[in-house]
């Protein structure tokens, strides 16, 4: 784990304890030569447009994806959210967020009790090694999330990590 990766994790982990409102954190600016996709976003940057200041909890969400992706154009990603998916308590939306892509929100899934399981899979494009975040919105308005670092092996030449 090198300094860049460590710093990135540090900024993503810090202050996102259960129930705390997110303070504003500076996005790390990157040298054009190394971070070819520009800014490496903080978790706060990534979720803010969606949660708009609401609290987020790191729980109940699992991300299944390869740690090593052979190809940044086709990375399988599965998200599972623990939820009864009953009419009183269900997941309404799952957001897949990218730390580094030109477009942060890779996809938004809309679900309901009829889905019985808050479990979605897809294949994403990742512009280099980065953290991906799965953010779930619940029917009671709460948000929970998880994150995972995916190494895009072919882009090692340009990743700083």
């Amino acid at each position: 784990m090198n300094v860049d990766s460590w710093l990135r994790r540090k900024s993503l982990k810090s202050l996102l304890l259960a129930g705390m409102t997110l303070p504003w954190l500076m996005g790390r600016d990157a040298l054009a030569q190394r971070m070819n996709s520009g800014l490496l976003l903080t978790l706060e940057d990534m979720v803010q447009p969606i949660v708009k200041g609401a609290k987020i909890f790191k729980k109940d969400v699992q991300i299944e994806a390869p740690i090593l992706a052979d190809n940044g154009s086709l990375v399988p990603l599965e998200v599972q959210v623990q939820s009864p998916m009953s009419t009183e308590n269900y997941v309404t939306h799952i957001y897949l967020l990218s730390q580094r892509n030109p477009v942060t929100q890779m996809a938004m899934f809309q679900l309901g009790p009829w889905n019985a399981r808050a479990n979605v899979s897809t294949r994403v494009r990742l512009a280099g090694t980065q953290e991906v975040v799965a953010l779930a919105r619940l029917s009671n308005g709460e948000f929970c999330y998880n994150q995972m670092e995916i190494i895009v092996t072919e882009s090692a030449c340009v990743d700083a990590s």
């Binding site: 154009s73 477009v103 899934f109 889905n115 019985a116 897809t122 294949r123 494009r125």
Partner: protein, 106 residues
């Protein structure tokens, strides 16, 4: 006309929780890349995909350029009664696609 494929288990009984797998043929051009003559391939992304069972919407996804070409989605639904499963999608160019398949529930 773009095509889609959708798959679920052969035998579906009422109240089963069924995994649905869906693949849509679409280049999902990001708009960032050029062809080999140097011309930018304009952005053309599927904006919305909806799935209906009969009249009820059972799944919706709004992809972005971050979803791979030939978008693949997998989700679950609780089977109730036999109904028509309909997938619809629209892309940046305004092109729409549709796929129909009977969702048989025994």
């Amino acid at each position: 006309m773009m095509s889609a494929r959708v798959q679920w288990p052969e035998k579906v009984r009422a109240d089963d929780i069924v995994k649905v797998r869906m693949l849509i043929q679409h280049p999902m051009d990001t708009g960032y890349l050029q062809d080999l003559t140097g011309k930018v391939v304009p952005r053309n992304i599927i904006r919305t995909v909806t799935c209906h069972l009969g009249k009820q919407e059972v799944f919706r996804v709004e992809p972005s350029s971050g979803i791979s070409a030939n978008p693949f989605f997998e989700f679950y639904i609780r089977a109730t009664v036999t109904a028509e499963f309909k997938i619809e999608w629209t892309d940046d160019k305004g092109m729409t696609g549709q796929h129909l398949q009977i969702f048989n529930v025994t």
